[in-house]
């Protein structure tokens, strides 16, 4: 069945492009949206008899070396959700390139699904490259000068990441004799502790993935790429792409391939804490709405990496929950920034003001988004941060826990500055006639805000439901 996650979008891309009659961009968007909804459904009912029957009838079980565990189902669901949001926002803001946009979103969807499900280091690399190539093109969709620059930076950094990851794979192949996750893991377990050459291989892979995830000090490309990309693409990149390619892969490699190692764990924790702090401090001094969100992403990803570094089951649960929550609140905020940019024509927060009275839904949902990002109860972001901090405390990493806690105050600080400048106060000059964005954008921001509120308030029930469908 896992192959369905790749086959469905692939067939859709082929049909969209090879059909006898040219399919219009609106129809293409609709079909793309259906595929993303289908992905959410499949991840919620994974292993259900419909899918099993479909797999058997269509005989799409010719490739079986996938690795699906409960965490990957959450990730697959999140990929579907954020792609859905991105397609809805793309409906009103990608101009003439809608058709290509839909195709590229489907390709990036396949890439990310592959990254989530593979069980082999080389296949992992192949799917990371698919995601990468599709992202470069998506960022430069409008061929705007800054976007091309941002995309080029991302391309160069990704090439460096590739070198690191391939070198690492070569070392692993030399010693373990295979790149399959379970064989590598058995090889490592046959030693007492992780052998030195594997530590080197893992360090190289971590470096490559840190570039992909935009962790400090490898973050140079990220703010430019995020802020110069078209709005729906920034949602996709910040919400899910860098999280899957960098963070989730790191989690999988750390927990089930290279095995937990105190030294590597500490390195990850330090990387996480530095990202949390530097990302938050850098976000404070920005004037561009999207750049603030980009630096905030670096900071929030730091929390996930910190949790991965701690490595206890509770910490990993926190990491995967924060993965989902971050995707939902950060894409909510990016949707809001897209709405503001579309209606006012600017992203500079110094020239905005008082928009809450003109765009009540955007203003209201963005408050939900930032409170959730800052970890204020009862929103969803609170629970995942709480779990991560408790896990850090249990692992006797008191200073890390304290810094992670205090960094939440920094998060509130930069988001309050953003809110005050954009949505509160007097309406800025020239913005008196601004109206709310179109129904699609309003709809997805309400949907995402609702996810944040419902998951937050009903967390125990949501948690039980997640357990019942095998996600946790």
């Amino acid at each position: 069945m896992p192959l369905l996650f790749i086959i469905f979008p692939l067939i859709t891309v082929l049909i969209l492009n090879l059909s006898y009659k040219k399919i219009g961009s609106k129809a293409a968007l609709l079909i793309g949206t259906i595929i993303t909804l289908l992905q959410m459904l499949m991840s919620m009912t994974f292993g259900g008899f419909i899918w099993k029957g479909l797999t058997d009838t269509l005989r799409v079980n010719f490739i079986t070396d996938f690795r699906i565990n409960s965490y990957s189902l959450i990730v697959l669901f999140t990929i579907g959700l954020i792609s859905f949001v991105s397609l809805i926002v793309g409906r009103s803001s990608t101009g003439k390139d809608k058709f290509n946009f839909v195709n590229l979103v489907l390709i990036i969807l396949m890439g990310m699904n592959g990254v989530t499900m593979v069980a082999d280091l080389f296949s992992l690399y192949v799917f990371l490259e698919i995601t990468g190539v599709a992202s470069f093109v998506l960022i430069s969709l409008h061929k705007d000068k800054y976007a091309l620059q941002g995309s080029f930076k991302y391309l160069l950094m990704s090439a460096i990441a590739t070198v690191f990851m391939l070198t690492s794979s070569a070392i692993v192949l030399m010693f373990a004799g295979s790149l399959k996750f379970d064989i590598v893991n058995t090889y490592i377990l046959s030693y007492n502790g992780v052998p030195f050459q594997m530590v080197i291989a893992f360090m190289l892979f971590i470096t490559g993935l840190s570039i992909k995830a935009g962790l400090i000090p490898f973050h140079g490309w990220l703010p430019d790429a995020y802020s110069s990309a078209p709005a729906p693409v920034s949602i996709l990149l910040a919400g899910i792409v860098t999280k899957v390619t960098g963070v989730y892969t790191l989690l999988i490699l750390f927990t089930s391939v290279f095995g937990k190692n105190t030294m590597i764990g500490t390195v990850l924790m330090v990387l996480g804490i530095i990202s949390i702090l530097v990302g938050a401090l850098a976000a404070m001094s920005q004037d561009d709405f999207k750049k603030i969100l980009a630096y905030s992403s670096i900071s929030q990803v730091g929390y996930i990496i910190l949790a991965v570094g701690i490595g206890s089951p509770l910490a990993l649960l926190g990491a995967i929950l924060h993965f989902f929550n971050h995707a939902s609140f950060k894409s909510l905020l990016f949707v809001n920034s897209a709405a503001v940019e579309m209606q006012t024509g600017t992203r500079k927060i110094s020239s905005l003001g008082g928009l809450a009275s003109r765009m009540p839904i955007t203003g209201g949902t963005s408050i939900v988004g930032f409170l959730s990002a800052a970890g204020i109860p009862p929103l969803s972001g609170f629970w995942s941060k709480l779990i991560i901090i408790i896990a850090a405390w249990q692992a006797a990493a008191y200073s890390y826990a304290a810094v992670a806690l205090l960094a939440s105050i920094l998060t509130i600080a930069y988001f309050l500055r953003l809110q005050r400048n954009v949505f509160f106060g007097h309406v800025a000059e020239g913005l008196e006639n601004v109206t709310e964005a179109n129904a699609g954008i309003k709809g997805v921001s309400i949907l995402l805000a609702a996810i944040n509120i419902v998951v937050g308030i009903l967390f125990p029930l949501v948690f039980k439901y997640m357990q019942s469908i095998g996600w946790i």
């Binding site: 790749i6 390709i107 190539v133 599709a134 373990a176």
Partner: protein
């Protein structure tokens, strides 16, 4: 290092590796794009020989046909479509370029020195010979199916890249 291993084969191999490094440095540092593309092609050609000596004929064939052949053709045809820059600009660019790449040979020397120093420790790492019991066909079509699927998707991504980035020029 044991001196007895210095037979003629080993010397040839060392020379090949050295020329590999030199030609790849040339590919990065030469200002003339055409010459740089040719240097890149010769890097691939030398790499092909190295792979062949290392008993990887299939990898060697692909390296030769794709990297040395196809990519060079694409690069050279792309270069022949672009124009030259004015000469004053070239002088400025040349200075900047050289400053930027001066560090490269230095890095190489440092890495080589580090390897030389740590050789006694590294030589204990006996790499496993990856089993070559499976045939090429089996490896490609039975073991690496997923990667072939991945390759189809990556080609699709490349196609859309070209469509998105170059379409407008066609219309003009």
């Amino acid at each position: 290092m044991d001196l007895s291993s210095f037979n003629s084969d080993f010397v040839v191999f060392l020379l090949l590796l050295l020329s590999l490094i030199i030609s790849s440095l040339c590919a990065v540092m030469i200002r003339n794009l055409l010459k740089a593309a040719i240097a890149l092609a010769s890097t691939s050609a030398i790499l092909t020989i190295v792979m062949f000596i290392l008993n990887s004929p299939w990898a060697a064939v692909f390296e030769l046909s794709v990297c040395a052949g196809l990519i060079t053709v694409v690069l050279i045809s792309a270069i022949s479509l672009t124009g030259e820059k004015p000469s004053e600009e070239i002088v400025i660019l040349r200075k900047k370029r050289l400053q930027r790449f001066m560090i490269l040979p230095l890095i190489l020397v440092v890495v080589a020195a580090l390897l030389w120093i740590s050789w006694p420790y590294l030589s204990n790492w006996v790499p496993k010979i990856v089993s070559s019991e499976v045939t090429f066909q089996e490896a490609l079509w039975n073991i690496r199916q997923l990667d072939i699927l991945g390759q189809i998707i990556i080609i699709l991504a490349g196609v859309f890249g070209i469509v998105v980035l170059f379409k407008e020029r066609e219309v003009k």
